[in-house]
């Protein structure tokens, strides 16, 4: 026995002696994947159980996810399991065979107190795991918001980023001939639902902007003859003029903390940028140049402001400190002109409108880093302008107007586009539309 042990030990030592020098000859293969597929994720969303409202909620969730360009809801006619909504866990094979990678199941039930109990689960079909599941209780009239909140939860679980579906858009609705255009402030959900007008059209209104923290809008109105910046409370319908300035005020925009409004004040043809504290109503002058300084937009940390100015001869973008010091030009493309800069809510980019330069006689919507590098054009056209960011900094909306016809009218509509420059979609409005402003996620 001892001999056998000795012999085995000898063999093992011999094998080890053989193996060691061979290790350096080969390594585990390694592969780098660099070239991803940018197609949307196939997702199955069988109709939630619970009657008509469940059907409607399924439609809203599916439409939200589809419009984001990141998801591809599969045709329900391809579903093998016709009774999937309440099956927990799902029969994953039924979803694999139709190439679904994600599955959403949900139920809607009426409670004794008249409220709805809504629950949904998101499943990873390939990994056979539940990824998230949430239950909500709500009043029946809130069904649409709950559907948007569900779509936001799915979007966040898959991308890591907050969603933007439970948001609203305020914009300028336009009707009538070019020389007698009626412009009204209007508001709708980001998907076009729940549309309503906020002003009656008697006064010209322009450039609405959402407060990042309250249900308030700041905008320009000619209600008293002279263009002035107003504050409008969506919940109460109250309006008030902002500030007591001698000249005309325009191009308002809230600071990210919601405590101030940045705007331009024009006196004798010279426009400068001011900051108005909404609590003290004190105004502070931030620029002091003989040029036209306008369209201010603060960075998310509130430390810097981007604006456009023709102080260098043509209209360009500049970034300065929040107190107005140290302005630096950031836009450079030949004779191109830049305007309406908007700082991204996530801070990494500034969106703008551009005319000319390397694009010739066209308008475009683009983004660049706050230091002016990495300029990318996302959309071009006869007239595209006025970008506004989704609260997660991933999607932009802007105005796209077609060539004017013989009567001087051009079709004007709002479009959304992904930050990657893909997935441009019209946002359906009842009439011509311009100047969209995206709300933060609703409270």
């Amino acid at each position: 026995m001892k001999k056998l042990h000795s012999a085995l030990a000898a063999v093992i030592i011999a094998v080890m002696a053989f193996a060691v020098p061979d290790v350096a000859m080969s390594e585990e293969p390694h592969l780098d994947m660099n070239n991803p597929n940018v197609e949307p994720l196939p997702i199955a969303i069988p109709e939630f159980a619970g009657g008509e409202v469940a059907h409607d909620m399924t439609q809203v969730v599916s439409a939200d996810l589809e419009r984001s360009g990141l998801f591809r809801p599969l045709d329900p006619r391809s579903f093998v399991d016709k009774d999937a909504a309440t099956r927990t866990p799902p029969n994953f094979n039924d979803w694999r065979v139709i190439n679904a990678q994600l599955l959403v199941t949900g139920t809607v039930e009426g409670q004794n107190d008249g409220r709805l109990q809504v629950e949904f689960r998101l499943w990873d079909v390939l990994d056979e795991q539940q990824m998230t599941g949430v239950r909500y209780t709500t009043t029946p009239q809130n069904w649409r918001r709950i559907a948007h909140i569900m779509a936001d939860a799915i979007y966040k679980r898959i991308t890591g980023e907050d969603g933007y579906f439970d948001t609203r858009i305020v914009y300028i609705s336009e009707t009538g001939p070019a020389n007698k255009r009626i412009k009204r402030l209007a508001i709708m959900d980001q998907d076009g639902a729940n549309h309503r007008f906020l002003t009656d059209g008697r006064a010209l209104v322009l450039t609405p902007r959402f407060s990042p923290s309250t249900q308030e809008i700041t905008y320009l109105s000619y209600a008293r003859g002279v263009p002035r910046v107003y504050l409008f409370n969506i919940d109460t319908g109250q309006q008030e003029v902002l500030g007591d300035f001698p000249g005309m005020t325009f191009a308002p925009r809230f600071t990210p903390d919601g405590n101030k409004v940045l705007m331009s004040l024009a006196i004798d043809g010279n426009s400068d940028i001011y900051s108005l504290d909404l609590r003290t109503r004190q105004a502070t002058r931030l620029t002091d140049s003989p040029a036209i300084d306008t369209s201010p937009s603060a960075s998310p940390d509130g430390k810097q402001i981007v604006f456009n100015s023709d102080r260098g001869g043509t209209q360009q973008l500049y970034v300065m400190n929040a107190d107005g010091s140290d302005p630096k030009r950031i836009s450079f493309d030949g004779d191109a002109r830049y305007g309406t800069p908007v700082w991204s809510p996530r801070g990494d980019l500034i969106a703008f409108t551009k005319f000319g330069g390397s694009l010739g006689g066209q308008f475009s919507i683009g983004v660049m880093r706050p230091d002016g590098s990495g300029e990318r054009i996302l959309a071009t056209g006869f007239l595209v302008e006025g970008p506004t960011w989704a609260p997660n900094g991933r999607v932009l909306m802007f105005t796209r107007q077609g060539r004017t016809d013989s009567s001087g009218n051009g079709r004007s509509r709002i479009y959304s586009i992904d930050l990657t420059g893909h997935n441009e979609r019209e946002v359906v409005t009842p009439q011509d539309a311009s100047d969209p402003a995206w709300s933060p996620l609703l409270p």
Binding site: S26, L41, G160
Partner: protein
């Protein structure tokens, strides 16, 4: 496979009186009968992973560049990436892949799971895992006689975004 911990409730911002988030729903997925088989395979895979941390003896030729390209081309359609994610190029999950002799992927273990605390990284890692688990991109067309060379390999998903 252990169930993931329940998700945290949605932020208080959503908690209006008439719209309460009652509960995050626990993972109710019950494991199917094939789980015990899967578990055994995963234990084998885990053992192989530990083994792979040790020096390994290999004889014969290496995988050729074109064979590696084959894997790349086959997996690419299943690697669906959110290129709009912030700093998408820095989201680089790595996996060790355990292969069956027929070219199908038996299991894949993430080698840098500690980075999944960043939700963007977690999203990228899950997208990579879906690519490796998607049956439509398998079996990988690799020479069976070289199975010993490709029975495990490591893979990094590092998107280059234009």
């Amino acid at each position: 496979m252990p169930a993931p911990p329940p998700e945290k409730p949605t932020p208080p911002a959503k908690k209006k009186e008439d719209m309460l988030t009652d509960a995050m729903l626990a993972n109710l997925a019950k494991r199917s009968p094939v789980d015990s088989q899967e578990k055994a395979q995963k234990q084998t895979a885990a053992a192989e992973q530990r083994a792979s941390d040790q020096p390994r003896a290999r004889l014969g030729p290496q995988l050729t560049t074109s064979e590696l390209d084959t894997i790349r081309e086959q997996l690419r359609p299943c690697w669906l990436v959110d290129v709009g994610a912030r700093d998408a190029q820095s989201l680089t999950p790595e996996f060790r892949v355990f292969m069956n002799p027929d070219g199908t992927i038996r299991d894949a273990t993430q080698l840098n799971p500690e980075r999944n605390s960043d939700p963007f990284f977690q999203a990228a890692a899950e997208a990579a895992r879906r690519a490796l688990h998607n049956p439509t991109c398998q079996p990988l067309k690799l020479p069976p006689e070289k199975y010993d060379l490709w029975k495990t390999f490591t893979i990094t998903f590092a998107p280059k975004i234009q």
